[in-house]
């Protein structure tokens, strides 16, 4: 009775898998081709004769004094500094909002919730002007500091802290003479761990993937993250046809290499984020 229905469902899933994998599959195949194979005009979705992946990889890491590796390092720096910073700030605030009642709390929290609706990119240009007045544009700080802001992460942590940390446990710790910080670190934080990892992952992803902010803040290519760097290569490659042909191979291999770290992170941390993401939508 249920069999035929599930067959249709499975066919639908297979179709979806194909659709969502096609660009990645193409990237994988294309990264094994040399320029000639890339432009040969047959079989874009299958391997051409000759396996040039390691050759491309070598070119990628050595091109222009290894600027790709530099961008990779920058991306990692921005993502970790921005992501960890954002998580620390948001977890502390979420816990503070959830577990303490102080005057002005509701007003401040309402402002935070309202700001979820403010489009953050609309703030990039004024932030640029402010940063430029402070002499901070074109430094790593111009990318890292604005990444610390995530009103949604605060909201998420507040919901998570209220749901997972019982007040009785905190009171018991306080009666035992533990200070507020110690109570937070020893009692509350372990209980909030899945939520913390979700927020960490989400904020690392959003910093790693960010394009608009670093594009406006940075003008020295040595400070670029991967997203802006590959965008630069793409512009170079499409503006000088012919001479730019070899760059397309670098762009393709570079794109493949730069999606690997996050995909691996998501695969290994599956059980955390799949549960954690539910929290925001449950209330």
């Amino acid at each position: 009775m249920t069999r035929p229905r599930h067959i249709w469902a499975k066919l639908l899933l297979l179709a979806m898998v194909c659709y969502f994998l096609i660009p990645v599959w193409w990237l994988l195949v294309a990264s094994t081709k040399n320029a000639e194979g890339l432009f040969s005009g047959n079989g874009a979705l299958w391997f051409s004769h000759g396996f040039h992946f390691f050759e491309n990889l070598g070119d990628l890491f050595t091109y222009n004094n290894g600027e790709y590796l530099r961008w990779l390092g920058n991306s990692a720096l921005y993502a970790f500094a921005g992501g960890i910073g954002c998580t620390v700030v948001s977890v502390l605030a979420g816990y503070g909002f959830a577990k303490f009642s102080f005057r002005g709390r509701n007003l401040v929290f309402a402002a935070v919730l309202g700001s979820v609706m403010v489009p953050l990119t609309a703030l990039v240009i004024p932030t640029f002007v402010l940063m430029s007045n402070a002499g901070l544009t074109d430094t790593v700080w111009a990318v890292i500091l604005p990444s610390l802001l995530s009103p949604f992460a605060v909201y998420l942590m507040r919901v998570y802290a209220s749901a997972s940390v019982p007040d009785e446990l905190l009171d018991a710790a306080r009666i035992d003479g533990a200070g507020e910080l110690r109570t937070f670190v020893r009692v509350a934080l372990p209980l909030m761990r899945p939520g913390v990892i979700t927020v960490l992952l989400l904020s690392i992803v959003s910093t790693w993937n960010n394009f608009f902010l670093p594009l406006t803040m940075l003008s020295t290519s040595k400070l670029y993250p991967l997203t802006v760097g590959i965008g630069l290569w793409e512009q170079l490659a499409s503006s000088n046809n012919g001479g730019g042909q070899s760059l397309w191979n670098l762009i393709i291999t570079g794109s493949l290499v730069s999606i690997v770290p996050l995909v691996v992170a998501f695969l290994t941390l599956q059980k955390y984020w799949q549960g954690g993401l539910a929290v925001g939508s449950l209330k």
């Binding site: 229905r5 599930h6 469902a9 639908l12 899933l13 297979l14 898998v17 659709y19 969502f20 994998l21 990645v24 193409w26 294309a30 890339l38 005009g41 079989g43 874009a44 700030v89 502390l92 605030a93 816990y95 503070g96 909002f97 303490f100 919730l113 609706m117 403010v118 489009p119 990119t121 609309a122 703030l123 990039v124 240009i125 004024p126 002007v129 402010l130 500091l145 802001l149 009103p151 605060v154 507020e180 992803v205 790693w208 993937n209 394009f211 608009f212 406006t216 997203t227 965008g231 397309w248 762009i251 794109s255 999606i259 995909v263 992170a265 993401l277 539910a278 939508s281 449950l282 209330k283």
Partner: protein, 291 residues
């Protein structure tokens, strides 16, 4: 008691500093900047709301705004339908294929929008994409999905591919948290699988759907990365005023008109705020994170 009062503020203090420095300050500064005009001969003069009148009368800004509104009206329902269908199927089917599909559908979320746009740009490309090759094999003319007339659809596909999986996971997580005894009860009352999906599951995840709608509305109105990345290979389909954000970026960094760019940003922010506000008001009964 007094000690707790102070502790609460201390916990939120670091966030508050970031919030004031990178949200409140730029917001007010943009508001302030937008009220002035900088002329080569006249210097900086107070302009009042002139920049806003100029923005809303500027055909470039209006064109961009119209594009993102039109685009939102199509892409948001499309993403939600893809995400909802995928989540409902995954909630029903179990096994290795289901687990694998869940990961694959979510995968694009872990890929930067820059690279997502770039990969699809390659696939659309007449010089090394498969679309052209397949069309040639069947002896028909392939549509170039980045041409003036088609770029709307080209972008629609990129954005749907990029975000549907993330929304699917949110809906899926909400579905998983429903108490399954409700389905048993419905089945005893004679409900079939489709009725259970549409009459029970969908209403029960409505707050997740509202959350997703708000997120994708805010995200789409700020459209920047994908068209900006596709611009160099789109043969001029992506104009410097393609979306309000691209327009503001070009005014600020190509023409160094920061006052007018701030007014554009602020106007866009206002439109987003208004759109989300209206949406919240319409769906307020459904229950959402903001109530």
């Amino acid at each position: 008691m007094n000690r707790k009062w102070i502790a609460g503020w201390l916990f939120i203090l670091p966030f508050l500093v970031v919030f004031l420095a990178f949200l409140v300050a730029p917001l007010f500064y943009a508001g302030y900047l937008s009220l002035w005009t900088k002329g080569l001969a006249t210097g900086t003069t107070f302009a009042g709301f002139d920049n806003y009148t100029r923005a809303f009368e500027d055909p470039s800004f209006r064109k961009g705004l119209w594009f993102v509104l039109r685009f939102s009206a199509v892409v948001i329902p499309l993403q939600i339908i893809v995400a909802l269908v995928a989540a409902l199927v995954l909630d029903e089917v179990t096994g290795r294929l289901a687990r694998f599909s869940r990961l694959v559908i979510f995968l694009p979320y872990a890929i930067p929008a820059v690279l997502g746009a770039l990969m699809w740009g390659f696939l659309y490309s007449p010089s090394f994409g498969p679309i052209e090759q397949i069309a040639t094999a069947f002896d028909v003319r392939a549509p170039f999905l980045l041409s003036q007339g088609n770029i709307f659809y080209g972008l629609l596909n990129v954005v749907t591919w990029q975000w549907s999986g993330y929304y699917m996971i949110i809906i899926y997580a909400a579905l998983r948290s429903i108490d399954t005894s409700i389905y048993e009860a419905a089945r005893i009352d004679g409900a079939n699988a489709r009725q259970i999906a549409l009459r029970i599951k969908v209403p029960m995840v409505s707050s997740a759907l509202v959350l997703i709608l708000v997120f994708s509305l805010i995200g789409t109105l700020q459209f920047f990365t994908e068209p900006q990345i596709l611009a160099p290979i789109a043969n001029g389909s992506v104009t410097p005023d393609f979306t309000p954000n691209i327009y503001a970026y070009n005014i600020a960094f190509r023409y160094a008109q920061f006052n007018y760019a701030s007014a554009i940003s602020f106007s866009l922010g206002f439109v987003v705020f208004l759109a989300v506000g209206i949406f919240m008001f319409v769906t307020r009964k459904k229950g959402s994170i903001f109530t």
